[in-house]
Each structure stands twice: as structure tokens, then as C-alpha cells.
Symmetry: D2
Subunit: 438 residues, 4 copies
């Protein structure tokens, strides 16, 4: 994963809303820690040597976990949880984990759920906060989606902070993607500017797994599991008819991690198209001619395409954006369906093309075991961080360790597949696909 | 189910290719039977009374099962299996069951798989028959689809019978839908006309479950299981956003059985639209206004639509047909997506519509336990019927009994949901949907 | 299924707590019915002929469904639901279905859940009734087990009826097995004797599927699905080691339906042992020598045994009973494990025996789609029956129709596999197992 | 994970059977590498500082991946694959991955499967090698277990090497646990001693995930997924009866990783008992009294116990070993079942204890998506290592990187849960269980 991040010159000091001075109630049962424990961002000896040679500080992250001293008095603490953006497996596990950790471990009894994302803070939408008790959240991990509801798009930061102050919230947990992280950071700054004491902790959520400095986001593993089933169906369909082609469109706006992983999980895909690797349709090396050779050689083919792949084919079409401000992608799945059909029609090769766009099915399911465990840890780490008074940070997973990452460090730039790295190399080995550029 | 069929004046004599005279090898281990065992088609006392009063013969079906006497000498018998039309969970279970029953129970060692549907009989397609041995089929029930491949559309009956004669096939098993049944019946007649002795046995396959005189077709149960998951996802999506609408399109060209059953299995759908019940979009009683009332009352809604529903909205568009000769349906899913979006846009109600078309995902999966059991019985019954020299018949399930049904009796008319029966009544209770006609 | 029941001389008049006179609120939206619609119990023409010849009334069941007239005024009606005995997939679906049908279709708002089975009626246990509202039961079908809890064993009928009277319950729904049916019937009689008006409706629950006059009980399909997975694992284990033997014990105290169906669903079992067919262990035809031949021929074997099979091997051991009064079975799984190990040890054949007792795993899961649909219908039919004032009856499924069966007709005798019928014949074909009696 | 290993003084030079001099056929399509790329074993800055201060070399592992130069000429290379010990999800994925990588990427066509573990090498067992072609392995990843069969126990190293020489095998892949690793290392040494050129590459397999210097073994993730389902069932059972106790025994001879992870995935367990943490049964702080308090407070409880936990309770019983030489554990599940039953019986508290031992069900299933991906990488890395002439090494995963680890470094010592680390801390938070020592 080293190749996927810059990793240099990183400022990893996590800001505080105040110095923690209260003995943690966890001290009785658990080994607690202070802020000195860290891990290196890049652990290859060659990178290390470079830092040592230059006598520069080696970039590292602060480890997550329960602190000896906490900042907020549990008996008086009020917390809020908000979930924003698209659904993702495991959101309810995170909500449940936060409520349970606060209640059972720290003795914090007041946790509010903010309904329908950032809308929930804004009075004009007339949504009411939900009281999140252990019994209310008892079985929510067996439901997909988010019990709080979600929404896309930004809201006025001032109004959000007004709502936080009005409800006396001391720790605000934001679960969301890149846009939500930015909003959370703005909220953290506005809160500090007002002199109000509220810790802002973010838990990154993106089914595309494309957040910088976060080696895996929750829900991704489950999404890959579901996507694998779909590719398997496409494979079955492709083998079930003469000149059968199974075409599957998967999520992945800016990065093809789901497509790549699902293809490796199923190993039946013959072409994996991702935003990170350019490809042509026409010409002898292009997808269409390559596909024709494959069909004539083997009789069937499976194509997996990430939604953000091949956007150059839509360059002439005016851009649109969704309510989150994301640029709407051209529908590469439908384009491929049409272009492939047209190509073989012209050559009178009677292909049987089956197009599958599983869309929301991949993300609305319940988290698998691995994601549930992961969500549980994220929730615990977020609560520890919040109780100890940290702010403007997110919980990340780095080299199998939970770490504190300042939000400004992570937002803005998406993580992408390194097309020279082992993941993409493995996809190319598994599919046997050539570079499809003339 | 009584209301679903006419049931009167039924000729249920199943034709033979010859009189069975050989003692069945199953006699040693199993209780065998003769052709006198039957069950009534309609078992309501009131229908019965009518027949008794009129002194007419009460319609009944011949029961399936092993016969005391068989027609074909197992040591010399050759069999063929062909799979036609769209995929359906359980096809491989049926193929495996036929091979195992022939080999282990009757001692028939030569079974050919005809590849890619009816194409496989026609020399110009240059497909080769596949030898189906017990070891070849050992694990195929763990794969979706059909290991033989399939194709749509009719082929020349004469050439099919030529191929059957050329390969000395004595029992030909056709697994397919309405069109395949018709072809099988023509083959049976042509074989008899030529004086060649070949039994033609059909196993009806349609994921839509719409074959007359067949209370359930294999794969349907599995398809409903998969469809339920998709509706559940749509429900999660609809609750995950303000004014969330989950819209799911399911299979069902002429009948809405999958949509109706899946909605009853999940119980989260608020609207189920099927070909059997007309509905309007506009007007105060139409779907759009009804949906608006639902949204304002409850904040979210789930709509399940069978692909054959609402075809009246496409009346102006010229009709097209697929290679099987089925009329291509207008895409009611996309039409609803557009019309709903437009309707609420005009009213400035910011709905969040999530459209899911799972398409092939519902039918390419492995059969569930119930369908596997069912497929095993169908295969055994088909082999018993074939070995005893019956022809031009299909294996049906009626009142939980496996029965022999002459193909001409079943083909041509599709089974449909009785909108006055308990299934549809239950759907209406579960959804709470009104009759949406102005 | 005909062979499984006597079917003659059956009294199928369902008793009433009073004559229904109120127009059903369902009349507006739904086609309602009266009590004259029936179906024959046995629909084979030969049985029919016998009745006609003797001029006797042909036995039939009253059909379930909404009636034109109901007995209880919905606005004043209070209902209770109790769940008894062992867990079974789908109980929560039934509870949810009852609450929804009462609330949304009839307008009945007061439904009590009686906790922990019959214990819940008895004051000394100090359990409190639970108010079952639509929102309380909204997601319970996504949880296994019963949200009400359950218990085994009988309680004082007088105290039960006291509790029903005290709470003004007008319709009492009992979900349970044979013992619960008997208790429900006694409650119905005691209620009538006291002149109190309370309808008693039972929904039979037994994972073993062994209730007379009920062709399938809910949860059975799901249990078979789970059991199939376990047999599949046993098969994998048996093939994974030299002389591998996979031995699986499944539920089935008095009948082997789960074992038989699961074996047909997986088709990898080589021996299926059920209570209905006697077998020897020793001797040349016994299980052990037969198993040895199988192992030497094929190298591995899978044995599926129902817990009630082979009880003759425990005849010398004193009998014990569980709290429900069921005789505790000797553990045939462990006995086989020991006897097989001993047998091959003596012969120095190094078998690898893997014993799997999935026990509760088969029954604690969430209902599959088919069972969920089934449970929904059972709940609706039970509510229709209760609202129309019927009592001392259960809801059964017969020839794919929901019927009313007087409880006394069904209890006492268990349904068993007909070892001359098609189910067992199919198991023998699939396994290839001989009759293992010397 | 740092705390789990010593990490100091590690010799990570991987031995070779010869210097690779042939240009890799992968060079055309893929970025290849040489042996200089490494990652640090421990990446915490404090450990790093210690090494720098002492001026010692910082321990690191060689990275896996395709090399520029390979040692074996693909056109003449023969390979062998053997699978040993207990089953584990994903073995067939690894076999398939090795065959595909050798065939499609390197052009190696001769791959033998050695049947039934190390037995397969020994002539007296009379097993024949299996030719592993791409078509033979095409669908094996959809089957659980190992298509090669397996066996436990050691065999004569000389005879194993004889068989390797006799078959001209140049790369021998061993898939197995600790004992198999030791055998593989001995084989590597004997091969070198004889001057025969055969690379020995091991892929560690243990469902318990307890191999040193390997942060995760394949199949573990799937096993946790299955184990979670079982705990969920135990939870359902425990809530389904008054004073319900669900007791689940899971795999984990020397380490409780499956128990701990499954408990975190489900979050319904109240007690997790593992080999790494001692506990008492009796006394006020012991399990029984703690369980009683839990039952009285909450009415139900779930206990998850790893098979290797609480072995001190069997100290008086003579030790036995299995064919692999593992000491047979006392059955802690049955012991707890008896002791808990006895304890509450004495106090007349009518508990309902449901004991579940899923045993082989957890390990015989097909690999989930995450494990399939993992297995694919392991296979590729193993082939790269073998082709480049490395030997006496295993493929490990360390800080998300695939690395080469000398076998002698890893064997002998089992990885264990650090009871002061974040995993166990999280288990204790999730369960709320105290230290149960008097």
C-alpha cells in the first residue's frame, strides 16, 4: 500500500478542544495509554533510510485507543451522531458501537441521533433528534442502511454549530465521505472559534474505499462480497449462451477498488475496466477487437466496469452534478452495452450480451462479519478519541492499526489504484487482459 | 389454485411410443405402479358435484412414478438432454438427476447432452454432443445456469429428428418453456410419423411460473428468495433518505408471480404492479397521486413492478420480438422512474428515487434446497416416464403430486394471478395498495 | 401425501364461540366468503369411488379466508399471542403477521404478547404481557427465534383461562406443537364452559413437520435449507480424508422428514436413517458391514441420522422425559459414532469419522422467503378465523389450500414418512442404500 | 499486532536452490522486481529508535512478487501441490491459483496434485498423483475442502524426497499447518543435501490463525463469518427461554482468535473464554457465580469458549495425541455444560442451557470473497517465489504486504492473543466480562 500515498512531510498532530485531566473510568478494567504511541506511515527500509540520511522526522500517526486521562466528565456529557451521503454496509454497526461504548464503558447516557444527515441540524427541515439508548440500538446491526437516515449535500456551518450548541452536544460524531469530512472540519473550527467545547470526530465512510491515508473503509469488504455474486451470475449467463457476454457495472466513481477486488474474488472476469487505466474502444488493440478475439477463442467473456471508467467517451456531453456536488458520470455501462452490440451486429456475430447493473444491491445489505468487527473497532476508537478531547480528526486504519488522522490531511485527494502495484498486476494476471491502448 | 385453471373437459391420456413389456429393474428394490393411479384436477366438492350431477367423467391426471413394466431395454437405450430458453435456478440439478437416475437405477449408460439448446441438433452450428457420465455431472448442481448452454428460438423439426435418429436416441428430454414444449410436441409427432421409437419427455422451465396445469415450476422458489433480497435493499434505500422511493423491476412477462411472492416474502413493498391488474398513472386514483399521499404520510415507499405490467403505456410504440418469438415489452421500470421523477419535480417535492433492476441476478444463482429437492423429483419422474415408453408429455406438479400432462394440453395459454384469489388478496392486504384506476 | 393420512370418517365441523353477525370491514376492498367452500381431503378417484359407492359423505375441510360476517367488534376486541415449545424459523413472521392483519385490516389495536409460553399466563412466574403494536413488530421478522420467548411444559388450564378473562382477551392465538394444541383445545373448552366469549385459534409449529392433516409446517423449509448446508460440509469432510466418514445428526424425534428432505436437497448422503425404517447395525446386511462395503468401493461415505432413529438400541436404558413430557431419546448420533469407530478399529481400517451435530443452528435462523410467505398466510388465515368467531381449531395447509382443522382431529398422532411412498423411494434411489435388516 | 511477536534479531534471508538467471516471461506485461524490496517487521517509532540507538540492523522481511530473473525454465518445469492437516476454507482457491499462475503466466504445464497429504508421496499407500490442468481446476473454488484430499501425521522424509525425485518435481508447494511446515523444511534440506534442484514453498494453513509472523492465515475470515452465525443462533436460543444460556464451542486449540473475532462480529456474547486467559469456575469471582449474576440481572447469557480454554480443569486426566501429534484437548464445552447445569440445579434455578458445537461446519464451507482474494494472492506469490528458485520459505502477510519468511523462523511457536492488546480489550468491552479469577 506504500505506493498509494505520498507519505512525506505529514503533519500528524491531532488538535484538542482542551487538555484531558479526568481519570478515565476504563482505567479499572483496561490498560490505557497516552498519546506517545505511534506507527510509521511508510515502513519500507528504503524510505526510512532517506529520512534518516536527511535527518528529517519520520512521518508517523498517533495510535487510537483509550487514554489514561479524558477531557469530558461522562456524567455531564452529551453526544451526537450523524450519518451522511450514500448508504454503506455497517453504518448501523458503527452507530450501535458508539452508543454501547459511551453507555457501558464511559457511563455517558445522552446520545442523540441527528436524522437525515446534515439536514437534521437545520431547523427548517423540521426533523427531530432521536434518543439513542442501548435498547433502541440493540438489534440495528441486523438491518442494512442507517436507522438515522441520510442525505446528500452541504448545509450552513453556522446553523449546524447553532444546533450543536443548542443541544449542549460535547462530542459530535460524523459518519460520511469526503464532503462530510470537510463539513466536520469546518464545524470543528467554528466550534473552537466560538469558544464552545465540542469534540468533532469523523469516521470515514465510502463504499469506493478511496479515502487517502485510510487503507480500508468499512463496508468495502461486504460490497466486494456482493459484487462477487453478481460477477458470478454474469459468468453463468455468459457461459449459458453461444457467444455469451456478461457485462457488469460496479460502483467506483474515481477509483476501481470494488471492481478490482470483486474480480479477484471471483476470478471469472476477463476484462476489468477502471478509472485509473485508460483504454480505447476502437482500433486493433482496443476493447472491441480484443473482446472479439477472446470470444472467437473461448466462446464467452465477462467484463467488469467501474462506473467512473472510460469517462473520456463522454467528453462532449455537458457536465452535471448531484446534490453532494459530485460530477455525474456518463453511464459507461450503457455505453459499452450499445457499442459492443453495435460492433458485433456490424460483423454479423450473434453475441448474447447480458448487462447487469446491481446498483444499490451492493451497498444496502447488512455488514459481513469482517466489516462488523471493523465497525465495532472504529466506534470504540472514535469514542476514546472524543472522550479524550481530540477534535478535527478521523479514525483511520493503517498497517492494521487504528490511528488518529487530522481531517485536513485526508480530504480533497482520492486514493486510487496504483496501476504499477500488486493489486492491479494481480488483476491483469487473473484476467489476462492486455493494455487496450492503440 | 383451483381458480387458476379451467379444469373441465380435459383429455389426460398420455400417448405411448409402444407398449411396455420389460420388467423394470427397479422392481427389486422399490414399489412400482401401473397407469391406473390418478388424482383429481379440481378437488372442491362443489365442482365434483357438478360432474356427478351431469354424469360426466371427473377430470384427473395420471400419476408419475416408476412402472412395473418398461418399454426400453436399459442396456441398449440412449438418451439425450437439451436445455432451451433463459436460465433458471436448478437446470443443472435436473440434468444431474436424469443422468444419475438413468445410470444408477436403470443401468442406462449412454446419455448425451445437446449443447446450446435446439441449435445443438442442427449440424450447421457445429456444436458437438457432450457425454454425460455420473462423474461428469457430479458437482454441477453447485453451479448456476446450465452446463449444456442454451439458446432461444426455434429450429427445423426435421433436422432435430434427423439428429435424434442419427444418434440412436431413444428418450429425449426437453427442458424449456412454452416454445420448447411446442417444439418437443412436434418432435414427438414427427418421430411417430417416421416410425422411429423415441420417447419425448418435457420438463417445463419458466422462472415466471406461468405454465398452465403446473402449480409450480422449478427455480421459482429460488428466484423469489433472490428477489426478496432486492426488495429488502430497496426498502433500506427508501428509509435511508428523506422522501425515499425504492423502485424494483422484477421478471414476469405475462404474470406477476415473482413480484407477488417476493413482496409477500419481504412485506416491505407498498405497491406491487403486475400484468394481471390494470392501473393508471395519472388522476386522483392513479399511482402517482397515491404514491404522493403515501410519501406525505409515511416519508418513504417501495414499489415492485413486474416487467410485463403497465404495457398499455407503450401502445403507441411499434412492437419488437426476441429470438424466441416473445414480444419485447416496453421497459416499465424506466418509464416509472421517469414519470415519478417528473411528477414530483413539478411539485417541487425532493424525492430520492432509487431504481433497482436486478435482471439476471435473480435467475443465475444456484438452486435453493427446496428447488433442488423439486428438481430431483422432476428428473426421476421424467426418467420413469421415458423408460416406460410414454411420449409427448410433460412432468407437472399438481396438488403436491407429480403427474403426467399431455404437452398439447398445457402449451399456448399462460397461467396468471387470479386477482380475486387469495394470493392477490394477500398482496393487497400486505401492501395496503388500493385499486389504482380512475 | 394421500398415503400419509387415514382421511376417512373425519368430522370437520369447526366449532364457534358464537354466530358472526357483523359485516366485515374487509368487504370494502376484498372478496369475502362464507363457510361453504371446502376441499376434499383425499383427491384420488379410487378413494372417491369408494365413498360414492357406499353413499357416504366425502371427507373435506373448510377453507380458510376472510368471512363476510365477523363475530367480534374490532373496536372492542383484545387479542393475545403466545409461543410455546422449541424455536422454529418464522415464529416472529407469524407474530408480526397477526399484529399487522389485526391492526391494518380489521382495526384491532389491542394485541398482547404473552411472554415465555404458557408460563406467561401464570401469575407466580411474574412475567408481564407485552403490548404488540405495528411499530413494535416492524423489524422482528429479521430476527430468529421468538421475541416473546417460549417455554416447555403444561400449565394449569384454569389459571390460563383466568388470565385470559382478567385481560379481556377475545381471541387467543396459540403457536406451538402437539402439547400446545392439546392445551389450546382444553382452554377453548374451559372458556366455553365458563360462558366467556373467546376464540381459540392454533397455528401448528413443529420443525419436524410431523403434525397430522398438515402437509407442511412453517419453518420446515428453512430448517431443510440449513440442514443441507451441514450435509454438504459432512460430504466435504468425508472426501477430504482417506476412508472419510461424515456423520450428521438432524432433528426428527418421531419422523425423519428433515433428514429425508435435506438428503434429497444435497444428494450426497449415502445412508439416511429415520425412525420410520428399522435397521440393524450388525450382521452382513447391517449398517456397519454395508458401510464397510461402501468405503472399500468409493473411499468415503456420508450418513444422515434423525435423532429418533434406531431407538431400539437403547431399550435397556431407563426412559426419561423433558419438561414438555416428550420421552428423551437415546443419543443415536453418539452411539453410531462409537459403534462405527469400534467396528473399523477392530478391523484395522483407519477411518476418519467426522461427527456433526448442528443442533439448534438448524432452527434458530431467520425464515427463508418461502417460509416467510407461508407464515404471512398462516397469520392472515388465523386472524380471519378468529374474527369470525371460530374456536378450537388450527390453520392447516392441505393440497396448497389453507384450511380449518378441529384441533382434536389433529393432535395425538404424529405424521410419519410412508416408507412405501415416493419421498422415501426417492431417498433410497438417491442414496442407493439397501434395506439394512438381516 | 506488534505486541504479538518478538520481532528482534530476526534472520530474514530466504535460501535459494540456485541463482536465477533466466528472464521472466512476465517481464513483457508486468513490472517485476528484485530481492532488495523489504518492509520493517515492527514499524513503531519507539522500537525503531532502539535499533538506531544500538546501531543494529532493523529487522525486515523480503517482499513477495514476480522477479526479473527466474531459476527454472518454464518449458521443462514440473510442480507438485500437496494439502495436509485439517480442512480450511480456501484450499481449493490456492490450488486453482497455483495451477492458473503456473500455466497462464509462466507457461508451466505439468502440475501434479499429491493426494491425501503426505501419504500421497509414500508408495505403500497406493495413491496416484492427479494431473492438475486449468480445466480440471476450473470450478474447484466453488467446492469446500480440498479436491486433493488430506491426511494428518508425518511421513518418512526420505521417501517423500524419493517421490519428488522420481517424478522430477522442481517446485513443491506444501499447504498445511505447523507440522507440515516442519516437514517441508526437512524436505527442503534433504533435497539440497542430495544435490537435487527442487524449490520448497509453503503456504501456511491453520484455521486458528496462530502462525507466528503471519498476521492472517487464509480461511480465518470465512471461519469467523460462520462462527458468527452460530453465536447469533445461541443468542436467539438464550433469549427464547427463561434463564436461557447459549453455550458455543469454537475451534482454537492454542489461541482464541476465532472465538474473539466471532464474538466481536456478533456482539451478543457475554463471556468469551480463550486459552490465553486463565479463569476459575468456582468462587465468587469465578465463571459460575458471575454467570448467575448476569442471569439474574438480564435473564439470559451467551458463552463462547475456544476448545483450548480451561485445560487446567483436565489436569488429572492422562494426555492423548491425535495422528498429527497434537495433544488432544479435554472437551471444555461438555465440561462447562455439565458444570453449569450442576451449579444451577443445586440452586434450583431452572436454567435452559443450549449447547452448540458446530465443529466442522465452520471449516468445510467455501471461502468468502475476502479469503478468495487472499488465496489468489498467496498462490501467485508462492509461484513467483518458486519460479525464482527460493526454497525453505513460506508466504506470509505482514502489514498488508506479502512477504517471504524462512520456515524455521515461523514454526514451533504459536501466535497468541495478547491479553493486553486492543483485540482482547475490545472483547472485554464488548462482553463486559470481568477477570474471572479469585
Amino acid at each position: 500500500m506504500n505506493g498509494e500515498t505520498g507519505g512525506e512531510g505529514v503533519n500528524t498532530i491531532v488538535p484538542l478542544v482542551g487538555i484531558p485531566t479526568i481519570d478515565s473510568p476504563l482505567l479499572v478494567a483496561t490498560k490505557c495509554m497516552d498519546d506517545s504511541e505511534r506507527i510509521l506511515i511508510d515502513s519500507s527500509p528504503s524510505v526510512l533510510d532517506r529520512y534518516l540520511k536527511d535527518n528529517r522526522e519520520i512521518p508517523s500517526f498517533e495510535l487510537g485507543g483509550p487514554r489514561n486521562k479524558i477531557f469530558f466528565d461522562p456524567s455531564k456529557t452529551k453526544c451526537g451522531v450523524v450519518t451522511c451521503g450514500g448508504l454503506c454496509p455497517g453504518i448501523n454497526d458503527v452507530i450501535r458501537g458508539i452508543v454501547h461504548e459511551l453507555y457501558y464503558m464511559y457511563g455517558v447516557e445522552n446520545v442523540y441521533g441527528i436524522p437525515y444527515g446534515l439536514q437534521g441540524f437545520i431547523p427548517s427541515y423540521r426533523h427531530s433528534f432521536i434518543e439513542l439508548t442501548p435498547s433502541y440500538v440493540e438489534n440495528i446491526h441486523e438491518l442494512g442502511g442507517t436507522i438515522l437516515g441520510s442525505s446528500r449535500g452541504s448545509q450552513d456551518i453556522g446553523q449546524i454549530v447553532d444546533a450543536i450548541e443548542r443541544s449542549n452536544i460535547n462530542i459530535m460524531f460524523f459518519i460520511g465521505g469526503d464532503g462530510t469530512m470537510k463539513a466536520a472540519s469546518s464545524v470543528a473550527n467554528e466550534v473552537l472559534a466560538r469558544g464552545y467545547r465540542c469534540s468533532v470526530i469523523a469516521i470515514p465512510k465510502t463504499i469506493d474505499n478511496d479515502i487517502s491515508f485510510v487503507s480500508k473503509t468499512f463496508g468495502f469488504d461486504t460490497a466486494v462480497e456482493e459484487a462477487r455474486k453478481v460477477i458470478q451470475c454474469a459468468h453463468v449467463e455468459s457461459k449459458g449462451a453461444p457467444f455469451g457476454i456478461g457485462l457488469v457495472k460496479l460502483m467506483g466513481r474515481d477509483s476501481g477498488f470494488i471492481a478490482a477486488h470483486a474480480a479477484l474474488a471471483c476470478r471469472e472476469a476477463n476484462f476489468v475496466l477502471v478509472p485509473e487505466e485508460d483504454f480505447d474502444l476502437d482500433g486493433d488493440k482496443g476493447l472491441l477487437a480484443t473482446l472479439e478475439r477472446r470470444l472467437k477463442h473461448r466462446g464467452h467473456a465477462v467484463i467488469v466496469v467501474a462506473e467512473g471508467a472510460g469517462q473520456k467517451f463522454f467528453e462532449d456531453i455537458p457536465k452535471q452534478t448531484d446534490p453532494s456536488g459530485n460530477v455525474r458520470k456518463g453511464d459507461i455501462g450503457l455505453l459499452l452495452k450499445e457499442r459492443i452490440g453495435h460492433y458485433f451486429h456490424l460483423q454479423s456475430i450473434p453475441v448474447n450480451l447480458k448487462y447487469i447493473d446491481p446498483s444499490y444491491v451492493v451497498r444496502s445489505v447488512v455488514a459481513n462479519a469482517s466489516d462488523s468487527i471493523f465497525c465495532g473497532f472504529l466506534a470504540q476508537m472514535a469514542v476514546h478519541a472524543g472522550m479524550s478531547g481530540k477534535t478535527d480528526m478521523l479514525i483511520g486504519l493503517w498497517n492494521n492499526e487504528y490511528v488518529h488522522i487530522p481531517i485536513p490531511l485526508s480530504v480533497g485527494e482520492r486514493k486510487k489504484i496504483d496501476t504499477n502495484g500488486s493489486l492491479w498486476m494481480s488483476v491483469k494476471e487473473s484476467t489476462g487482459q492486455p493494455v487496450m491502448k492503440n
